[in-house]
């Protein structure tokens, strides 16, 4: 292991799945992905269904082999046992052995991670407490709710105190209480210095949890940076809602709004600050009415939708 190597380093990673009985259909799930996650960071992979988020995580966990490119965890290939000892993983819709009780499952997970004896028993108790599952520890997992399964899955991922946590859709399908609990648990791990990479399509989770975000669409990375950088990278926009002036008139004046929509008599426009001021004066001069004029708060959702429209490829494009 290289001590200075980042927890996650991905270079030119591509994955093509072969489907069908004869494996003749090819679907490219990932296209030349580059990604680095530094120690202590919480990084979110954001993207719609089929964007390649889960495939990225599966390659990192050795569940899927990359078609080309390279993925390294702490400077080592993901399949090395030494690498795995430092990683905790929660897959999408985790399915622990349902015939086991929560405690038995955690004991098994701990054994597989290399723990034994007293230290294993002690750690099982600790993680049960961390995920607030002590009372259900003796219950078979088949009786657990989705939120409880998610928490026990997180417990098995952290039982060996990993330096890196990889989580696939950790809050998907949970009710608001369950989501809140999962988010708190992830934040607690972050506070302890654990590096976290997770994928989701739930934007508020990204805004709450992430230091950095990579947006994937159709297997390609279309944005990457800190949440702050991504949200302030564009010039500030102003939204003007006006009445009494048609869109054709706005165009005739020479304005090219970034967004426009006519709803009945009203016209909603997004323009630069400078354009918004001069447009307001012209509208008032033409006896139009300004209903609203305010700066647009650019959200991750806007960024996400913008990225989606930029990428014209169909998600999971068949290449043969």
């Amino acid at each position: 292991m290289t001590s200075t190597a980042p927890p996650i380093e991905v270079r030119g990673l591509s994955k093509t799945y072969r489907l069908g009985f004869w494996m003749s259909r090819k679907v490219q799930a990932l296209k030349s992905l580059d990604l680095t996650v530094n120690a202590g960071e919480v990084c979110g992979l954001l993207g719609p269904n089929g964007a390649g988020k889960s495939t990225t995580l599966k390659v990192l966990m050795g569940l899927v082999k990359a078609s080309s490119g390279e993925a390294r965890l702490f400077g080592m290939p993901p399949t090395f046992k030494e690498t795995r000892r430092q990683i905790g993983f929660v897959p999408e819709n985790p399915a622990p052995y349902e015939y086991l009780t929560g405690k038995e499952f955690l004991t098994l997970a701990g054994r597989l991670a290399g723990l034994s004896g007293m230290s294993l028993d002690q750690r099982v108790g600790e993680v049960l407490h961390l995920v607030a599952m002590e009372r259900a520890a003796g219950l078979q997992i088949r009786r657990y709710s989705k939120g409880m399964i998610q928490r026990i899955a997180l417990a098995q991922a952290i039982i060996h105190k990993p330096k890196l946590l990889i989580l696939d859709e950790p809050t998907s399908g949970l009710d608001p209480v369950g989501r809140r609990q999962m988010r708190d648990l992830i934040l607690a791990e972050r506070e302890q210095g654990t590096t976290v990479l997770f994928c989701t399509h739930i934007i508020p989770d990204v805004e709450t949890l992430c230091d950095r975000v990579a947006v994937l669409v159709a297997g390609k990375q279309v944005r990457q940076g800190s949440v702050k950088e991504l949200l302030t990278s564009d010039a500030p926009l102003f939204e003007t809602v006006l009445e009494g002036v048609p869109l054709s008139q706005v165009h005739a004046w020479g304005y090219q709004p970034k967004y426009s929509k006519e709803i009945g008599e009203r016209l909603i426009l997004r323009t630069s600050d400078q354009d918004a001021q001069s447009l307001a004066r012209k509208v008032l001069g033409l006896s139009g009415r300004i209903i609203q004029l305010q700066p647009v708060r650019f959200s991750l959702e806007d960024l996400f939708l913008e990225a989606l429209t930029e990428v014209k490829d169909t998600v999971g494009t068949e290449i043969t």
Binding site: M61, K81, R84, P91, A95, Y99, L100, A109, L112, Q156
Partner: protein, 255 residues
């Protein structure tokens, strides 16, 4: 070794908590009890009837169970995605595979021992003497179960539980008919049929080599060399199948 034991014991625990295993076990015991009724209609061949029915039922139930358990061993884990939580731990895929098979065999061993215990108890009840060939038949049955489980295991590493179960059942019957396939094809005038027959004979597991129940029925003595040869055959064949399963499983993508 600790990880191997954890995986094997987990497999055993799964089978123990699986109601189907219990039901089949109880059913086997009930059928063994039926041997008691059969003896009512026999005049004096208690030994033969008890051995035929007891070993036959034991073999049938355990073979069915071996096929059921092994064919779903990996495919179920893959379908339910439980495998994601295990193979991402610092555990090699081959160790996971061998551990799961060991758990399966542990279950079958416990059931085989239990059923053999019931069988010998019944013999004792009817004051029928035991024979060494009965022990041989029961002991070698374990290797037949190992071979069948390994086959189901290979199948379940790349196909669904249903497909695995159907193919493994087919292999069970074909394996017991391997000698007949060879004999019939060698009588054919067509060279193609002869070659196909020979290839099939050598590829199929010859399960009749692991069947000592006819000898047990007639209390015939079995040469130790022959038994050892059969055991070596069964073990080697099973090892080759496990190696194949490991190769297939290691190459597999878990989508």
């Amino acid at each position: 070794m600790r990880i191997f034991a954890a995986l094997a014991l987990n497999g055993f625990r799964e089978a123990r908590r699986n109601r189907v295993t219990l039901v089949v076990g109880m059913f086997a015991l009930a059928l063994l009890g039926c041997a008691t009724l059969v003896t009512v209609i026999t005049v004096y061949t208690f030994y033969r009837v008890l051995t035929d029915v007891g070993l036959g039922v034991m073999s049938l139930m355990l073979v069915l169970l071996a096929i059921f358990l092994s064919s779903g061993l990996l495919s179920r884990e893959i379908e339910r995605r439980t495998v994601f939580l295990i193979v991402t731990k610092p555990v090699s895929r081959s160790l996971f595979l061998v551990g799961r098979l060991a758990g399966n065999m542990l279950t079958l061993t416990v059931l085989l021992r239990g059923m053999a215990g019931v069988f010998f108890l019944e013999m004792l009840m009817y004051r029928v003497s035991f024979s060494s060939s009965q022990l041989v038949a029961i002991g070698v049955l374990w290797f037949e179960l190992l071979l069948l489980s390994s086959f189901g295991f290979v199948m379940s590493s790349f196909s669904s539980q249903t497909v695995s179960a159907v193919v493994t059942t087919g292999i069970y019957f074909a394996g017991h008919l391997a000698n007949d396939i060879y004999a019939i094809s060698s009588r054919s005038k067509s060279t193609v049929i002869q070659v196909v027959g020979k290839v099939t004979y050598y590829l199929l597991p010859n399960l009749s080599r692991l069947n000592y129940r006819p000898q047990a029925s007639y209390a015939l003595s079995v040469a130790p060399g022959e038994v050892l040869s059969s055991i070596a055959y069964g073990t080697t064949y099973a090892a080759a199948l496990v190696a194949l399963a490991i190769i297939l499983f290691k190459r597999r993508d878990f989508k």
